[in-house]
Protein backbone atom coordinates (compact mmCIF):
# COMPACT_ATOMS: atom_id res chain seq x y z
CA UNK A 1 0.00 0.00 0.00
CA UNK A 2 1.46 3.27 -1.03
CA UNK A 3 -1.09 5.68 0.32
CA UNK A 4 0.77 8.82 -0.33
CA UNK A 5 -0.49 11.85 1.48
CA UNK A 6 -2.59 12.57 4.49
CA UNK A 7 -5.75 13.55 2.74
CA UNK A 8 -6.16 10.10 1.26
CA UNK A 9 -8.04 7.40 3.06
CA UNK A 10 -6.92 3.82 3.46
CA UNK A 11 -8.03 2.42 0.12
CA UNK A 12 -6.06 5.07 -1.71
CA UNK A 13 -9.01 7.12 -2.81
CA UNK A 14 -9.49 10.78 -2.32
CA UNK A 15 -12.00 12.36 -0.01
CA UNK A 16 -15.13 13.82 -1.47
CA UNK A 17 -15.71 17.42 -1.97
CA UNK A 18 -18.97 18.56 -0.44
CA UNK A 19 -22.00 16.78 -1.84
CA UNK A 20 -24.42 19.16 -3.51
CA UNK A 21 -28.02 19.06 -2.36
CA UNK A 22 -31.00 19.04 -4.68
CA UNK A 23 -29.53 16.77 -7.31
CA UNK A 24 -30.42 13.17 -8.01
CA UNK A 25 -27.63 10.67 -7.40
CA UNK A 26 -25.05 11.22 -10.16
CA UNK A 27 -26.99 14.17 -11.60
CA UNK A 28 -29.18 12.36 -14.17
CA UNK A 29 -32.80 11.53 -13.32
CA UNK A 30 -33.69 7.87 -12.98
CA UNK A 31 -35.82 7.73 -16.12
CA UNK A 32 -32.90 8.94 -18.20
CA UNK A 33 -30.58 6.47 -16.55
CA UNK A 34 -32.95 3.64 -17.38
CA UNK A 35 -33.05 4.73 -21.00
CA UNK A 36 -29.27 4.87 -21.16
CA UNK A 37 -28.89 1.51 -19.45
CA UNK A 38 -31.22 -0.05 -22.00
CA UNK A 39 -29.04 1.39 -24.74
CA UNK A 40 -25.95 0.03 -22.98
CA UNK A 41 -27.47 -3.44 -22.69
CA UNK A 42 -28.26 -3.45 -26.37
CA UNK A 43 -24.76 -2.20 -27.17
CA UNK A 44 -23.19 -4.98 -25.12
CA UNK A 45 -25.42 -7.54 -26.81
CA UNK A 46 -24.29 -6.40 -30.28
CA UNK A 47 -20.57 -5.65 -29.90
CA UNK A 48 -19.48 -2.62 -31.91
CA UNK A 49 -23.00 -1.65 -33.02
CA UNK A 50 -23.88 2.00 -32.49
CA UNK A 51 -27.08 2.25 -30.48
CA UNK A 52 -28.93 5.57 -30.74
CA UNK A 53 -29.99 7.09 -27.45
CA UNK A 54 -31.70 10.27 -26.25
CA UNK A 55 -28.63 12.19 -25.23
CA UNK A 56 -29.37 14.82 -22.58
CA UNK A 57 -27.94 18.24 -22.23
CA UNK A 58 -25.23 18.13 -19.57
CA UNK A 59 -23.68 20.96 -17.59
CA UNK A 60 -20.65 20.99 -19.83
CA UNK A 61 -20.26 21.74 -23.53
CA UNK A 62 -20.44 19.12 -26.29
CA UNK A 63 -16.98 17.90 -27.03
CA UNK A 64 -15.99 17.86 -23.37
CA UNK A 65 -17.26 14.39 -22.67
CA UNK A 66 -21.03 14.68 -22.51
CA UNK A 67 -21.43 11.14 -23.85
CA UNK A 68 -18.96 9.57 -21.47
CA UNK A 69 -20.34 11.45 -18.50
CA UNK A 70 -23.90 10.25 -19.21
CA UNK A 71 -22.72 6.64 -19.48
CA UNK A 72 -20.76 6.98 -16.26
CA UNK A 73 -23.72 8.59 -14.49
CA UNK A 74 -25.95 5.70 -15.54
CA UNK A 75 -23.69 2.88 -14.42
CA UNK A 76 -22.06 4.31 -11.31
CA UNK A 77 -23.21 3.09 -7.90
CA UNK A 78 -22.59 4.22 -4.31
CA UNK A 79 -19.73 1.77 -3.87
CA UNK A 80 -17.91 2.55 -7.07
CA UNK A 81 -14.56 4.24 -7.14
CA UNK A 82 -14.15 6.57 -10.07
CA UNK A 83 -11.01 7.52 -11.97
CA UNK A 84 -11.10 10.07 -14.78
CA UNK A 85 -8.26 10.61 -17.24
CA UNK A 86 -7.78 13.06 -20.05
CA UNK A 87 -5.12 12.04 -22.58
CA UNK A 88 -3.72 9.71 -19.94
CA UNK A 89 -3.42 12.39 -17.31
CA UNK A 90 -5.40 12.58 -14.08
CA UNK A 91 -4.78 16.25 -13.46
CA UNK A 92 -5.91 18.12 -16.56
CA UNK A 93 -8.95 20.39 -16.53
CA UNK A 94 -11.36 17.94 -18.09
CA UNK A 95 -10.37 15.08 -15.78
CA UNK A 96 -10.34 17.14 -12.60
CA UNK A 97 -13.72 18.67 -13.30
CA UNK A 98 -15.51 15.49 -14.25
CA UNK A 99 -14.06 13.84 -11.15
CA UNK A 100 -15.29 16.72 -9.00
CA UNK A 101 -18.66 16.60 -10.74
CA UNK A 102 -19.25 13.02 -9.64
CA UNK A 103 -17.75 13.71 -6.24
CA UNK A 104 -20.30 16.47 -5.75
CA UNK A 105 -23.37 14.92 -7.34
CA UNK A 106 -22.91 11.26 -6.42
CA UNK A 107 -20.61 11.41 -3.45
CA UNK A 108 -18.63 8.47 -4.76
CA UNK A 109 -14.99 7.96 -3.98
CA UNK A 110 -12.55 9.02 -6.64
CA UNK A 111 -9.02 7.89 -7.20
CA UNK A 112 -6.04 8.36 -9.48
CA UNK A 113 -4.88 4.78 -9.08
CA UNK A 114 -5.83 2.64 -12.05
CA UNK A 115 -6.02 -0.63 -10.12
CA UNK A 116 -8.19 0.87 -7.36
CA UNK A 117 -10.86 2.24 -9.68
CA UNK A 118 -13.99 0.30 -10.61
CA UNK A 119 -15.13 2.80 -13.22
CA UNK A 120 -12.63 4.68 -15.37
CA UNK A 121 -13.85 7.43 -17.63
CA UNK A 122 -11.29 8.27 -20.26
CA UNK A 123 -10.67 10.82 -22.93
CA UNK A 124 -8.38 9.48 -25.66
CA UNK A 125 -6.24 6.95 -23.74
CA UNK A 126 -6.35 3.49 -22.21
CA UNK A 127 -4.37 3.25 -18.98
CA UNK A 128 -1.02 1.45 -19.25
CA UNK A 129 -1.80 -0.74 -16.25
CA UNK A 130 -3.79 -3.75 -17.54
CA UNK A 131 -7.45 -3.62 -16.51
CA UNK A 132 -9.26 -6.43 -14.72
CA UNK A 133 -12.68 -7.98 -15.21
CA UNK A 134 -14.08 -6.00 -12.27
CA UNK A 135 -13.52 -2.70 -14.02
CA UNK A 136 -15.47 -0.70 -16.60
CA UNK A 137 -13.78 1.64 -19.04
CA UNK A 138 -15.96 4.50 -20.33
CA UNK A 139 -14.73 6.35 -23.42
CA UNK A 140 -15.68 9.85 -24.46
CA UNK A 141 -16.35 9.74 -28.20
CA UNK A 142 -16.53 12.77 -30.49
CA UNK A 143 -17.41 11.03 -33.79
CA UNK A 144 -18.70 7.48 -33.43
CA UNK A 145 -19.08 6.71 -37.13
CA UNK A 146 -15.88 5.20 -38.58
CA UNK A 147 -17.23 5.40 -42.13
CA UNK A 148 -18.07 9.07 -41.91
CA UNK A 149 -14.94 10.44 -43.62
CA UNK A 150 -15.53 8.37 -46.72
CA UNK A 151 -19.32 8.29 -46.77
CA UNK A 152 -21.15 11.39 -45.63
CA UNK A 153 -24.72 10.08 -45.79
CA UNK A 154 -26.00 8.61 -42.53
CA UNK A 155 -28.61 6.50 -44.35
CA UNK A 156 -25.84 4.99 -46.43
CA UNK A 157 -23.44 4.31 -43.53
CA UNK A 158 -26.22 2.54 -41.62
CA UNK A 159 -26.86 0.36 -44.63
CA UNK A 160 -23.15 -0.35 -44.97
CA UNK A 161 -22.99 -1.46 -41.34
CA UNK A 162 -26.11 -3.56 -41.71
CA UNK A 163 -24.76 -5.35 -44.76
CA UNK A 164 -21.15 -5.39 -43.51
CA UNK A 165 -20.00 -3.59 -46.66
CA UNK A 166 -16.71 -2.39 -45.33
CA UNK A 167 -14.50 -2.31 -48.43
CA UNK A 168 -14.38 1.46 -48.31
CA UNK A 169 -12.47 1.40 -45.00
CA UNK A 170 -9.54 -0.14 -46.81
CA UNK A 171 -9.76 2.60 -49.43
CA UNK A 172 -8.72 4.98 -46.66
CA UNK A 173 -5.78 2.81 -45.69
CA UNK A 174 -4.84 2.37 -49.37
CA UNK A 175 -4.73 6.14 -49.79
CA UNK A 176 -2.40 6.45 -46.85
CA UNK A 177 0.04 3.88 -48.15
CA UNK A 178 -0.13 5.24 -51.71
CA UNK A 179 0.73 8.75 -50.58
CA UNK A 180 3.05 8.17 -47.64
CA UNK A 181 4.29 4.60 -47.98
CA UNK A 182 2.66 3.50 -44.76
CA UNK A 183 -0.59 3.89 -42.84
CA UNK A 184 -0.23 7.27 -41.16
CA UNK A 185 -3.47 7.16 -39.19
CA UNK A 186 -2.14 7.39 -35.67
CA UNK A 187 -5.28 7.83 -33.62
CA UNK A 188 -8.92 6.76 -33.93
CA UNK A 189 -7.57 3.81 -35.91
CA UNK A 190 -10.59 1.76 -37.07
CA UNK A 191 -11.11 -1.71 -35.64
CA UNK A 192 -13.38 -4.63 -36.39
CA UNK A 193 -15.15 -5.99 -33.33
CA UNK A 194 -15.92 -9.69 -33.05
CA UNK A 195 -15.37 -10.12 -36.82
CA UNK A 196 -18.48 -8.09 -37.52
CA UNK A 197 -18.90 -4.36 -36.92
CA UNK A 198 -16.29 -1.81 -37.83
CA UNK A 199 -15.93 0.55 -34.91
CA UNK A 200 -14.22 3.81 -34.18
CA UNK A 201 -12.22 3.31 -30.98
CA UNK A 202 -12.56 7.05 -30.19
CA UNK A 203 -9.41 9.09 -30.70
CA UNK A 204 -7.10 6.90 -28.65
CA UNK A 205 -3.62 6.55 -30.14
CA UNK A 206 -3.28 3.37 -32.18
CA UNK A 207 -0.72 2.39 -29.55
CA UNK A 208 -3.72 1.51 -27.37
CA UNK A 209 -5.59 -0.52 -29.99
CA UNK A 210 -4.00 -3.87 -29.06
CA UNK A 211 -5.10 -3.31 -25.45
CA UNK A 212 -8.75 -3.41 -26.55
CA UNK A 213 -8.40 -6.93 -27.90
CA UNK A 214 -9.72 -9.52 -25.42
CA UNK A 215 -9.67 -6.91 -22.65
CA UNK A 216 -11.08 -8.37 -19.39
CA UNK A 217 -12.84 -5.09 -18.57
CA UNK A 218 -16.12 -3.97 -20.12
CA UNK A 219 -15.59 -1.09 -22.55
CA UNK A 220 -18.42 1.41 -23.07
CA UNK A 221 -18.37 4.27 -25.56
CA UNK A 222 -20.59 7.32 -25.29
CA UNK A 223 -20.99 10.02 -27.92
CA UNK A 224 -23.17 12.80 -26.50
CA UNK A 225 -23.47 15.13 -29.44
CA UNK A 226 -23.91 12.32 -31.96
CA UNK A 227 -26.27 10.49 -29.57
CA UNK A 228 -24.71 7.04 -29.88
CA UNK A 229 -23.60 4.41 -27.39
CA UNK A 230 -21.58 1.34 -28.31
CA UNK A 231 -19.65 -1.28 -26.40
CA UNK A 232 -17.06 -4.01 -26.44
CA UNK A 233 -17.93 -6.75 -23.96
CA UNK A 234 -15.14 -8.34 -21.92
CA UNK A 235 -12.84 -10.78 -23.72
CA UNK A 236 -14.06 -9.78 -27.18
CA UNK A 237 -11.89 -9.92 -30.28
CA UNK A 238 -10.93 -6.47 -31.52
CA UNK A 239 -8.85 -6.35 -34.68
CA UNK A 240 -7.25 -3.26 -36.18
CA UNK A 241 -7.76 -3.05 -39.94
CA UNK A 242 -4.74 -3.59 -42.17
CA UNK A 243 -3.47 -5.10 -45.41
CA UNK A 244 -1.78 -8.50 -45.55
CA UNK A 245 1.41 -6.91 -46.82
CA UNK A 246 1.15 -3.81 -44.60
CA UNK A 247 0.29 -5.23 -41.18
CA UNK A 248 -0.93 -3.05 -38.33
CA UNK A 249 1.86 -1.57 -36.23
CA UNK A 250 1.89 0.67 -33.17
CA UNK A 251 4.01 3.71 -32.45
CA UNK A 252 7.47 3.25 -30.98
CA UNK A 253 10.01 5.65 -29.59
CA UNK A 254 13.78 5.66 -29.47
CA UNK A 255 13.63 7.45 -26.12
CA UNK A 256 12.31 6.18 -22.82
CA UNK A 257 10.33 8.26 -20.33
CA UNK A 258 12.55 11.00 -18.91
CA UNK A 259 10.88 10.72 -15.50
CA UNK A 260 10.41 7.02 -14.85
CA UNK A 261 12.55 5.45 -17.55
CA UNK A 262 9.73 3.29 -18.86
CA UNK A 263 10.39 2.07 -22.39
CA UNK A 264 7.05 0.43 -23.10
CA UNK A 265 4.52 3.16 -22.41
CA UNK A 266 3.00 5.81 -24.67
CA UNK A 267 5.21 8.90 -24.56
CA UNK A 268 4.27 12.56 -24.94
CA UNK A 269 6.82 14.95 -26.36
CA UNK A 270 7.14 18.01 -24.15
CA UNK A 271 8.92 21.13 -25.35
CA UNK A 272 10.71 22.65 -22.40
CA UNK A 273 12.14 25.93 -23.69
CA UNK A 274 12.37 28.18 -26.73
CA UNK A 275 15.58 26.55 -27.95
CA UNK A 276 13.78 23.35 -28.97
CA UNK A 277 14.84 21.30 -25.99
CA UNK A 278 12.39 18.51 -25.52
CA UNK A 279 11.73 15.59 -23.28
CA UNK A 280 9.60 12.50 -23.61
CA UNK A 281 7.40 11.54 -20.67
CA UNK A 282 4.69 8.96 -20.08
CA UNK A 283 1.26 10.19 -21.11
CA UNK A 284 -0.29 8.03 -18.35
CA UNK A 285 0.57 10.14 -15.28
CA UNK A 286 -0.51 7.54 -12.74
CA UNK A 287 1.54 4.80 -14.40
CA UNK A 288 4.57 7.10 -14.45
CA UNK A 289 4.22 7.84 -10.73
CA UNK A 290 3.94 4.16 -9.91
CA UNK A 291 7.07 3.40 -11.93
CA UNK A 292 9.02 6.07 -10.07
CA UNK A 293 7.74 4.77 -6.74
CA UNK A 294 8.86 1.29 -7.68
CA UNK A 295 12.29 2.58 -8.63
CA UNK A 296 12.81 4.74 -5.56
CA UNK A 297 10.90 2.42 -3.26
CA UNK A 298 9.29 5.41 -1.66
CA UNK A 299 5.96 7.12 -2.11
CA UNK A 300 6.16 10.20 -4.21
CA UNK A 301 4.93 13.53 -2.91
CA UNK A 302 1.92 14.51 -4.92
CA UNK A 303 0.43 17.85 -5.51
CA UNK A 304 -2.96 18.95 -6.70
CA UNK A 305 -4.64 15.56 -6.27
CA UNK A 306 -7.94 16.72 -4.88
CA UNK A 307 -6.62 18.14 -1.62
Amino acid sequence: MTASSQNKNTNGSMENPEILEGYNFAYLDDQTKRMIRRAILKAVAIPGYQVPFGSREMPLPFGWGTGGIQVTASIIGQDDILKVIDQGSDDTTNAVNIRNFFGKTAGVDTTEKTNKATVIQTRHRIPETPLSKDQILVYQVPIPEPLRWLEHRETETRKMHALAEYGVMHVGLYENIAHYGRVTTSYDYPVQVDDRYIMSPSPIPKFDNPKMDKMPALQLFGAGREKRIYAVPPFTKVKSLDFDDHPFTIESWEESCALCGSSNSFLDEVITDDEGTRMFVCSDSNFCKEQIEKLTNAPLLQNGDGS
Partner: protein, 261 residues
Protein backbone atom coordinates in the same frame (compact mmCIF):
# COMPACT_ATOMS: atom_id res chain seq x y z
CA UNK B 1 -31.84 -14.48 -83.41
CA UNK B 2 -28.23 -15.39 -83.74
CA UNK B 3 -27.75 -16.31 -80.11
CA UNK B 4 -31.01 -18.04 -79.38
CA UNK B 5 -29.27 -21.13 -78.06
CA UNK B 6 -27.96 -19.21 -75.10
CA UNK B 7 -29.86 -18.04 -72.08
CA UNK B 8 -30.27 -14.31 -72.02
CA UNK B 9 -28.00 -12.47 -69.58
CA UNK B 10 -30.69 -9.96 -68.73
CA UNK B 11 -34.37 -10.53 -69.37
CA UNK B 12 -36.74 -7.60 -69.06
CA UNK B 13 -40.45 -8.30 -69.16
CA UNK B 14 -43.41 -5.91 -69.16
CA UNK B 15 -41.45 -3.37 -67.21
CA UNK B 16 -43.37 -0.23 -66.18
CA UNK B 17 -42.73 2.61 -63.84
CA UNK B 18 -44.85 5.65 -63.10
CA UNK B 19 -44.07 8.85 -61.29
CA UNK B 20 -47.56 9.55 -59.99
CA UNK B 21 -49.61 10.15 -63.13
CA UNK B 22 -46.52 10.60 -65.25
CA UNK B 23 -45.28 7.68 -67.25
CA UNK B 24 -41.65 6.91 -66.52
CA UNK B 25 -41.61 4.02 -68.90
CA UNK B 26 -44.26 1.54 -69.86
CA UNK B 27 -44.36 -2.09 -70.90
CA UNK B 28 -40.74 -2.57 -71.90
CA UNK B 29 -39.57 -5.99 -73.09
CA UNK B 30 -36.12 -7.03 -74.23
CA UNK B 31 -33.33 -9.55 -73.71
CA UNK B 32 -29.60 -8.99 -73.68
CA UNK B 33 -27.15 -11.77 -74.42
CA UNK B 34 -23.50 -12.12 -73.46
CA UNK B 35 -21.25 -9.73 -75.30
CA UNK B 36 -24.10 -7.80 -76.83
CA UNK B 37 -24.32 -4.03 -76.84
CA UNK B 38 -27.81 -2.59 -76.65
CA UNK B 39 -28.31 1.08 -77.36
CA UNK B 40 -31.27 3.06 -76.07
CA UNK B 41 -32.01 6.33 -77.82
CA UNK B 42 -34.72 8.91 -77.56
CA UNK B 43 -35.18 12.59 -76.88
CA UNK B 44 -34.73 13.96 -73.40
CA UNK B 45 -37.61 13.00 -71.13
CA UNK B 46 -38.39 9.87 -73.11
CA UNK B 47 -37.65 7.57 -70.18
CA UNK B 48 -34.14 6.41 -71.12
CA UNK B 49 -32.56 7.08 -67.76
CA UNK B 50 -35.60 5.75 -65.88
CA UNK B 51 -35.27 2.54 -67.82
CA UNK B 52 -31.57 2.33 -67.05
CA UNK B 53 -32.21 2.84 -63.35
CA UNK B 54 -34.93 0.19 -63.37
CA UNK B 55 -32.77 -2.45 -64.98
CA UNK B 56 -29.65 -1.64 -62.98
CA UNK B 57 -31.26 -2.12 -59.60
CA UNK B 58 -31.40 1.54 -58.63
CA UNK B 59 -35.16 2.04 -58.89
CA UNK B 60 -37.81 -0.54 -58.04
CA UNK B 61 -40.37 -0.81 -60.88
CA UNK B 62 -44.15 -0.58 -60.37
CA UNK B 63 -44.75 -3.58 -62.59
CA UNK B 64 -42.87 -6.18 -64.58
CA UNK B 65 -39.65 -8.02 -63.90
CA UNK B 66 -35.91 -7.72 -64.48
CA UNK B 67 -34.11 -11.05 -64.36
CA UNK B 68 -30.35 -11.48 -64.43
CA UNK B 69 -28.50 -14.67 -65.24
CA UNK B 70 -26.61 -15.12 -61.97
CA UNK B 71 -23.52 -17.28 -61.96
CA UNK B 72 -24.86 -19.84 -59.54
CA UNK B 73 -28.62 -19.89 -59.70
CA UNK B 74 -29.34 -18.82 -63.29
CA UNK B 75 -32.04 -16.29 -64.14
CA UNK B 76 -33.30 -14.47 -61.05
CA UNK B 77 -35.51 -11.44 -60.63
CA UNK B 78 -33.19 -8.80 -59.20
CA UNK B 79 -35.99 -7.17 -57.24
CA UNK B 80 -36.88 -10.45 -55.55
CA UNK B 81 -33.32 -10.93 -54.32
CA UNK B 82 -32.40 -9.78 -50.86
CA UNK B 83 -30.72 -6.41 -50.76
CA UNK B 84 -27.25 -7.77 -49.83
CA UNK B 85 -27.41 -10.15 -52.81
CA UNK B 86 -28.43 -7.37 -55.15
CA UNK B 87 -25.71 -5.05 -53.90
CA UNK B 88 -23.11 -7.79 -54.21
CA UNK B 89 -24.24 -8.33 -57.79
CA UNK B 90 -23.98 -4.61 -58.45
CA UNK B 91 -20.39 -4.42 -57.37
CA UNK B 92 -19.15 -7.64 -58.92
CA UNK B 93 -21.03 -8.73 -62.04
CA UNK B 94 -22.31 -5.28 -62.96
CA UNK B 95 -20.79 -1.96 -63.68
CA UNK B 96 -22.49 1.40 -63.87
CA UNK B 97 -20.91 4.30 -65.71
CA UNK B 98 -22.69 7.50 -64.83
CA UNK B 99 -23.29 10.48 -67.03
CA UNK B 100 -21.68 12.68 -64.44
CA UNK B 101 -18.42 11.03 -63.37
CA UNK B 102 -18.71 12.71 -59.98
CA UNK B 103 -21.65 10.40 -59.21
CA UNK B 104 -19.62 7.31 -59.97
CA UNK B 105 -16.26 8.26 -58.47
CA UNK B 106 -14.98 9.11 -55.05
CA UNK B 107 -13.62 12.56 -55.68
CA UNK B 108 -11.69 12.74 -52.40
CA UNK B 109 -9.47 9.71 -52.98
CA UNK B 110 -6.81 9.11 -55.61
CA UNK B 111 -7.36 7.52 -59.02
CA UNK B 112 -5.67 4.31 -57.90
CA UNK B 113 -7.93 3.98 -54.87
CA UNK B 114 -10.97 4.62 -57.05
CA UNK B 115 -10.00 1.81 -59.36
CA UNK B 116 -9.05 -0.53 -56.52
CA UNK B 117 -12.14 0.08 -54.42
CA UNK B 118 -14.16 -2.77 -55.90
CA UNK B 119 -11.33 -5.20 -55.26
CA UNK B 120 -11.22 -4.15 -51.62
CA UNK B 121 -15.01 -4.34 -51.45
CA UNK B 122 -14.94 -8.00 -52.43
CA UNK B 123 -12.32 -8.78 -49.83
CA UNK B 124 -8.92 -8.28 -51.46
CA UNK B 125 -6.56 -7.35 -48.64
CA UNK B 126 -3.19 -7.33 -50.35
CA UNK B 127 -1.98 -3.81 -51.07
CA UNK B 128 0.60 -4.78 -53.69
CA UNK B 129 -1.91 -6.84 -55.70
CA UNK B 130 -4.55 -4.13 -55.55
CA UNK B 131 -2.02 -1.59 -56.71
CA UNK B 132 -0.73 -3.63 -59.62
CA UNK B 133 -4.27 -4.45 -60.78
CA UNK B 134 -5.18 -0.78 -60.56
CA UNK B 135 -2.20 0.28 -62.61
CA UNK B 136 -2.95 -2.40 -65.21
CA UNK B 137 -6.39 -0.95 -65.63
CA UNK B 138 -5.09 2.58 -65.74
CA UNK B 139 -3.00 1.49 -68.72
CA UNK B 140 -5.91 -0.31 -70.33
CA UNK B 141 -7.93 2.89 -70.35
CA UNK B 142 -4.92 4.67 -71.86
CA UNK B 143 -4.07 6.85 -68.94
CA UNK B 144 -0.66 7.93 -67.75
CA UNK B 145 0.59 5.85 -64.82
CA UNK B 146 1.94 9.03 -63.27
CA UNK B 147 -1.63 10.07 -62.58
CA UNK B 148 -2.28 7.04 -60.39
CA UNK B 149 -1.96 8.90 -57.10
CA UNK B 150 -3.54 12.11 -58.29
CA UNK B 151 -7.00 13.18 -57.22
CA UNK B 152 -9.88 13.02 -59.70
CA UNK B 153 -10.41 16.75 -59.26
CA UNK B 154 -7.25 17.36 -61.27
CA UNK B 155 -8.49 15.27 -64.20
CA UNK B 156 -10.19 16.40 -67.39
CA UNK B 157 -13.71 15.26 -68.25
CA UNK B 158 -12.51 12.57 -70.62
CA UNK B 159 -10.03 11.23 -68.10
CA UNK B 160 -12.71 11.10 -65.42
CA UNK B 161 -14.90 9.06 -67.73
CA UNK B 162 -12.02 6.68 -68.47
CA UNK B 163 -11.31 6.40 -64.77
CA UNK B 164 -14.93 5.51 -64.17
CA UNK B 165 -14.75 2.82 -66.81
CA UNK B 166 -11.60 1.32 -65.30
CA UNK B 167 -13.16 1.38 -61.84
CA UNK B 168 -16.13 -0.59 -63.12
CA UNK B 169 -14.34 -3.09 -65.30
CA UNK B 170 -11.71 -4.16 -62.78
CA UNK B 171 -13.93 -6.89 -61.33
CA UNK B 172 -14.59 -8.18 -64.87
CA UNK B 173 -18.35 -7.56 -64.80
CA UNK B 174 -20.56 -9.31 -67.32
CA UNK B 175 -22.95 -6.43 -67.79
CA UNK B 176 -22.20 -2.72 -67.83
CA UNK B 177 -24.73 0.09 -67.86
CA UNK B 178 -23.66 3.39 -69.36
CA UNK B 179 -25.70 6.56 -69.11
CA UNK B 180 -24.64 9.07 -71.75
CA UNK B 181 -20.96 8.15 -71.38
CA UNK B 182 -19.77 10.73 -73.89
CA UNK B 183 -22.01 13.71 -73.27
CA UNK B 184 -20.18 16.76 -72.12
CA UNK B 185 -16.96 15.74 -73.85
CA UNK B 186 -15.55 17.47 -76.89
CA UNK B 187 -15.72 15.62 -80.17
CA UNK B 188 -12.13 14.41 -80.38
CA UNK B 189 -12.24 13.10 -76.82
CA UNK B 190 -15.58 11.49 -77.56
CA UNK B 191 -14.10 9.63 -80.48
CA UNK B 192 -11.18 8.32 -78.42
CA UNK B 193 -13.45 7.25 -75.60
CA UNK B 194 -15.80 5.49 -77.99
CA UNK B 195 -12.86 3.67 -79.54
CA UNK B 196 -11.72 2.62 -76.10
CA UNK B 197 -15.15 1.41 -75.00
CA UNK B 198 -15.66 -0.47 -78.23
CA UNK B 199 -12.27 -2.15 -77.90
CA UNK B 200 -12.76 -3.13 -74.28
CA UNK B 201 -16.28 -4.38 -74.76
CA UNK B 202 -15.40 -6.60 -77.70
CA UNK B 203 -12.14 -7.83 -76.15
CA UNK B 204 -13.67 -8.73 -72.80
CA UNK B 205 -17.00 -9.89 -74.19
CA UNK B 206 -18.96 -7.65 -71.85
CA UNK B 207 -22.63 -7.05 -72.48
CA UNK B 208 -23.54 -3.42 -72.36
CA UNK B 209 -26.59 -1.20 -72.19
CA UNK B 210 -25.80 2.29 -73.42
CA UNK B 211 -28.21 5.15 -73.11
CA UNK B 212 -27.56 8.13 -75.30
CA UNK B 213 -29.33 10.72 -77.37
CA UNK B 214 -26.44 10.69 -79.81
CA UNK B 215 -27.17 8.52 -82.82
CA UNK B 216 -23.53 8.69 -83.91
CA UNK B 217 -22.46 7.05 -80.68
CA UNK B 218 -25.02 4.34 -81.23
CA UNK B 219 -23.96 3.67 -84.79
CA UNK B 220 -20.42 3.11 -83.55
CA UNK B 221 -21.04 1.11 -80.41
CA UNK B 222 -24.29 -0.73 -80.31
CA UNK B 223 -25.35 -3.94 -82.00
CA UNK B 224 -29.00 -3.46 -81.36
CA UNK B 225 -30.96 -0.29 -80.93
CA UNK B 226 -34.09 0.58 -79.04
CA UNK B 227 -35.88 3.85 -79.77
CA UNK B 228 -37.95 5.34 -76.97
CA UNK B 229 -40.58 8.02 -76.98
CA UNK B 230 -42.79 9.13 -74.07
CA UNK B 231 -41.78 6.14 -71.98
CA UNK B 232 -42.54 3.56 -74.64
CA UNK B 233 -40.37 1.65 -77.09
CA UNK B 234 -41.43 2.66 -80.57
CA UNK B 235 -38.95 0.60 -82.52
CA UNK B 236 -36.18 -1.88 -81.91
CA UNK B 237 -33.87 -3.91 -84.10
CA UNK B 238 -30.33 -4.16 -85.40
CA UNK B 239 -28.65 -0.78 -85.22
CA UNK B 240 -27.89 -0.47 -88.90
CA UNK B 241 -31.37 -1.58 -89.79
CA UNK B 242 -33.04 0.93 -87.52
CA UNK B 243 -30.83 3.81 -88.57
CA UNK B 244 -30.80 3.04 -92.31
CA UNK B 245 -34.41 2.02 -92.70
CA UNK B 246 -36.46 3.43 -89.84
CA UNK B 247 -40.05 2.15 -89.79
CA UNK B 248 -41.61 4.29 -87.11
CA UNK B 249 -42.42 7.91 -87.96
CA UNK B 250 -40.68 9.11 -84.81
CA UNK B 251 -37.50 7.22 -85.62
CA UNK B 252 -37.61 8.61 -89.13
CA UNK B 253 -37.81 12.07 -87.66
CA UNK B 254 -34.97 11.36 -85.27
CA UNK B 255 -32.69 9.98 -87.95
CA UNK B 256 -33.41 12.83 -90.32
CA UNK B 257 -32.75 15.42 -87.65
CA UNK B 258 -29.03 14.72 -87.39
CA UNK B 259 -27.19 17.84 -88.41
CA UNK B 260 -24.94 17.33 -91.40
CA UNK B 261 -21.42 18.52 -90.74
Amino acid sequence: MTMSLQNPLLKVENLSHYYGDQIGCENINFDIYNGEVLGVVGESGSGKTTLLKLISGLLCPNAGSVAFDTRIEGLRDIYKMSEPERRLLMRTDWGIVYQNPKDGLRMNVSAGANIGERLMAIGNRNYANIRSDSSDWLEKVEMDLERMDHFPETFSGGMLQRLQIARNLITKPRLVFMDEPTSGLDVSVQARLLDLVRGLVSKLGIACVIVSHDLGVMRLLSHRLMVMKSGKVVEQGLTDQVLDDPQDPYTQLLVSSILPV
